[in-house]
Symmetry: C2
Subunit: 239 residues, 2 copies
Amino acid sequence: MVVKNQIKLIKSLQQKKCRIQQGLFVVEGVKVVQELLASAYKVYKVYSADSSVFDAVEGSEVVSQRELKQMSGLKNPNIVIGVFYIPQPKKVDFKDWVVVLDDVRDPGNLGTIIRLCDWFGIGQLVCSHNTVDCYNPKVLQATMGSITRVNLVYTAIGDFLGKSNVPVYGAFMDGHSVYRTKLPETGILVLGNEANGISKQVEALVTARVAIPQFGNQTTESLNVATATAILLSELRRG
Amino acid sequence: MVVKNQIKLIKSLQQKKCRIQQGLFVVEGVKVVQELLASAYKVYKVYSADSSVFDAVEGSEVVSQRELKQMSGLKNPNIVIGVFYIPQPKKVDFKDWVVVLDDVRDPGNLGTIIRLCDWFGIGQLVCSHNTVDCYNPKVLQATMGSITRVNLVYTAIGDFLGKSNVPVYGAFMDGHSVYRTKLPETGILVLGNEANGISKQVEALVTARVAIPQFGNQTTESLNVATATAILLSELRRG
């Protein structure tokens, strides 16, 4: 049986403030818990409603479906909840491309972008302080475990870009066609907020503006930020 | 005041079965209603909680916020609900690329794919009968009005592909790198279901298997279908 305080603690990790206070985050589902256990992430505790799953993991506990439901952030909880320590981010290295996000707010978008970075072997993802927290459960749900393979750093991106010595590419509607841009081996790629794009302060630090050309009707909206990231990372890598 | 039967009718359009019965669908939000009004879609009725919006539209009605809430499928309804007739799909033409979806189930994915087709000027989107309904309110929410510029056809895609005379490209994990594939001017591009990919029956009709190469860690999951579509449509168009 799980003590009430413990249930309260796990449940509280749905909120960013509590995650920071506790230095812990929570993930749900067998597969993603397995991926985190197999990674450098340090486990705090695994709760499983099925004794045959994770019984060999140190610090794992078999719980009732009712207890799991009390801890879960999902309407229909999975059979496993894992609680892990939030790691210290590593120093950003510039040996390869670095992706920078300027206030991406939607958890699904951030999750998809992390997954894309992983797919395309981009190991460094730098986020502005107003970008949605990567340990938000909805972000983790969308990453499918990719978060274990990408170094995520939250920082004041203005300062970060100001101190960098590599070219800074920014995605803009009115930029130069990415298809006709010769991209270097390393650099920084900046993507902006869903509604407002890249902020004025960050725009001033961009050294090259790129765009994904539109082939359809010109009345169309912009591309979604995760979709644009997919195409731009593909362009970085396709050679 | 809106009569009760009318409220019941609008509310019922959240369900596919009722949409088919009535030949109507519903969208919410000023911008998307405007886009549909400006298109070839035939309007049935527009309900607005703000008399200054859409008062000039024939068949528009000012309603109370309470009535709007009763008709809406959203937790926090917008100020405008538009009801439109489901159009007859046009015959698919093969002058340009045609995208085919084999049982894409997630409304957000279909919405994003419709928006991508619009961005890249792909006018023909053919869906298997088990693909999520494009008049599902969540799909419409994700398309941002792009649905007015893409011809969507639901059909038995096995028969459709069997009768087509153009090359059929399918997206597979183990396909030939799309970056090293010479793509023709016209053809069909098939994308599969989120969990199972392209079905065996459809796979047999594919004439060329393409893949988006993975650059990161080989343990990663596949790309999300909307993300894969973004990259593949970009490859079709970039030249």
